[in-house]
């Protein structure tokens, strides 16, 4: 039997935002090379869990711990976590005036030359961007698809070991979803045999559409700030598609 090394271990996590508890009793274990999916209705706490793993200051961890690569990162800053290998693609990242996508890519890919390396430019072209686009202020006036592709491009530059994707398929047309999925698969080592995969991921998806293109090992349903169930993505999705998330409420409150 293959023993999977755990990359991310979240135990008994409770999170408050503005003194209101949003998440509680969260246990989540993601092994090396695994991709998990986080499902759940709007407001169930999916994004909160993301931001908590990322260590954004507004999200106060009141209980439990987050272990990454065997190290307790519960009290580390976002920068420290990212430098340890956590990466994220945001759903609605902010536009920053005067900060060009090009500038960010250089930092993310640790490049110091005026021009981007050929290796980086290859990825730029693959994501259907050109040099002119790289001169643009990051996210400023980007279309929905451009935002997603730019987020993925930045992750390709960063090469994180654990990547969270917040709704990577929302607001993107079919053609672009396939392109994004292809790159997500590369980011998550899906092109390698299961036993050889080292990168792990956590996908937030509302509709699960991206799962037609990206395989995940385990799905979790988040309801009212708790994980209601975990299991095979296909089974759970089928269930959710038939009954909506209301069926999950029963799992969440077994007393009723």
């Amino acid at each position: 039997m293959v023993v999977v090394e755990l990359l991310l271990e979240i135990t008994d996590l409770a999170v408050e935002v503005n003194e209101k508890e949003i998440l509680s009793d969260i246990d989540l274990y993601i092994g090396e090379g695994e991709t998990h999916v986080l499902l759940g209705p709007n407001g169930s706490g999916k994004s909160t869990l993301f931001m908590s793993i990322l260590g954004f200051p507004k999200y106060k961890i009141t209980r439990g711990e987050i272990i990454f690569k065997g190290e307790d990162i519960t009290n580390l800053s976002t920068t420290e976590r990212v430098r340890m290998g956590v990466g994220v693609s945001f759903q609605n990242p902010p536009a920053i005036r005067g900060v060009r996508l090009n500038d960010l890519l250089k930092i993310e890919h640790h490049e110091t030359d005026e021009e981007l390396s050929p290796e980086m430019m290859k990825m730029v072209t693959k994501l259907k961007f050109d040099e002119k686009f790289l001169e643009r202020d990051v996210n400023l006036g980007f279309s929905g698809g451009e935002v997603k592709r730019s987020e993925i491009l930045q992750l390709l530059a960063q090469e994180p070991d654990f990547i969270m994707f917040d709704e990577p398929d929302s607001g993107v047309d079919i053609e672009n979803v396939e392109l994004l999925a292809e790159e997500i698969n590369i980011l998550l080592d899906k092109d390698k045999k299961p036993g050889l995969r080292e990168k792990s991921g956590l996908l937030i998806t509302h509709l699960g559409y991206i799962l037609n293109f990206v395989n995940a090992e385990i799905a979790h349903v988040l309801m009212d700030g708790q994980i209601a169930c975990s299991g095979s993505p296909n089974e759970i999705l089928e269930h959710v598609r038939k009954e909506g998330f209301k069926g999950c409420v029963e799992c969440c409150n077994p007393i009723h």
Partner: protein, 408 residues
């Protein structure tokens, strides 16, 4: 350097006249140096190495490469004036006065000699400054570079500059003002008068990099005739003791147009009081003023703007965005709109605030530290796209701006 007794009389009367804005400066505290104290150079390449670095920092290239000509005033001495372009005439103001009788018709017409003690000092004190003139119908693509440099401690530097763009000509000027590294305190008074004839255009890009205890009092007036354009870009991101300026553009000509773009970075205990004013009297004349300001440490930045629409069909817009980065610093934005005719359009937009936390977090989630993220955002905020320049000059200006922002 005055031709008429009336002007002299007026200047004498204004010798003690305090400026309406800014801290009053005792002129006598600073030493007057005679013109001709420093020797003439054939080109800026003969400058001592230490000065070369300083002037390069403010966009003045000692090699003169890509420039139509170079002018430099060191303290009170004109040490270099070379011009390769046949479209442009450049020389020291004194020479120009000797050469052209008619130049007196331009002296003190865009700036009043009795504005305050600083204009009076420029009029009555040692001569200094440049004369630049673009010939009718010419378009020199390369910019002229002019440098006002203070090399001696505690000097009182004065300059009276006259720039004339003859009809349908185009003239680009880069000006860098700086001080030697061993200078701590000094006073710079610079009067600049611009005359832009029918259909002509001047772009004027100025970078300041003074020492921390330098007082700066520029006095600038711009006169625009029909279809004339003036574009002013100003960059000041290094510490200074005080600066107070309020260049005024008189859009007298029909369809005349002025654009002021200013980038202000306040550091240490600098007091920067800079404004821009446009008096729109020409039919269909227009003005646009854009300022980005960031205050750090104990700096105080006053950014003023005044649009006066005095005839029909004029347009003006004023924009000031400020970031206050420390509790001990301040940005005081004063936009003024004055409409005194029907059928005109004047507007302003001002916002003073903080760095958006969301933006900092976004950059942190790409691996930057909080400080790195904040400074990247600040630099981005200040590195606005300077518009209205020909492509080569735009690239050059971008470089100058990037250089200025490194210290922010």
């Amino acid at each position: 350097m005055l031709q008429s007794d009336t002007l002299k009389e007026k200047a004498e009367k204004a010798k003690k006249k305090k400026a309406s804005l800014g801290e009053d400066i005792e002129l006598e505290k600073y030493d007057q140096e005679e013109e001709g104290e420093h020797e003439q150079l054939e080109s800026l390449e003969e400058l001592p190495e230490k000065y070369k670095k300083d002037i390069l920092q403010v966009g003045v290239d000692p090699s003169g490469e890509g420039r139509a000509g170079s002018f430099m005033q060191l303290d009170q001495s004109q040490i270099c004036s070379t011009c390769q372009s046949e479209s442009i005439e450049m020389m020291g103001i004194q020479q120009a006065m000797e050469k052209y009788q008619w130049l007196s018709d331009y002296m003190w017409k865009a700036v009043n000699v009795d504005t305050d003690k600083y204009t009076a000092e420029a009029a009555l004190g040692e001569p200094g400054g440049y004369f630049i003139r673009s010939m009718p119908g010419t378009k020199e693509v390369f910019p002229i570079q002019a440098c006002m440099f203070i090399g001696d401690q505690n000097i009182r530097q004065t300059a009276h500059n006259i720039v004339i763009a003859e009809e349908n000509s185009e003239l680009h000027i880069i000006t860098g003002c700086s001080t030697g590294s061993d200078v701590q305190s000094a006073l710079h008074i610079g009067v600049s008068e611009f005359y832009i004839k029918k259909g002509a255009k001047i772009t004027f890009t100025m970078v300041h990099n003074w020492a921390e205890q330098v007082e700066v009092r520029p006095r600038t007036g711009i006169l625009l005739e029909d279809n004339a354009t003036y574009i002013n870009n100003y960059i000041l991101t290094s510490p200074v003791r005080t600066i107070q300026s309020y260049p005024t553009a008189y859009c007298k000509g029909e369809n005349s147009r002025v654009l002021f773009q200013s980038i202000m970075g306040g550091q240490k205990d600098s007091i920067m009081d800079t404004g821009t004013r446009a008096i729109l009297t020409g039919k269909n004349s227009s003005a646009e003023m854009i300022t980005r300001a960031v205050s750090k440490d104990e700096s105080q930045i006053y950014t003023r703007g005044h649009l006066a629409g005095q005839s029909q069909e004029v347009k003006g817009h004023l924009e000031c965005m400020g970031l206050v980065l420390s509790d001990d610093s301040m940005i005081y934005s004063v936009p003024e709109l004055e409409g005194s005719a029907t059928n005109l359009e004047l507007s302003h937009e001002a916002a003073v605030g903080k760095i958006a936390e969301e933006e900092v977090l976004y950059l942190m989630s790409r691996g930057l530290t909080e400080d790195e993220a904040a400074s990247m955002i600040v630099r981005g905020f200040l590195s606005m796209d300077i518009t209205g320049l020909p492509p080569e000059l735009a690239a050059e200006t971008k470089k100058m701006l990037d250089l200025s922002l490194q210290g922010m």
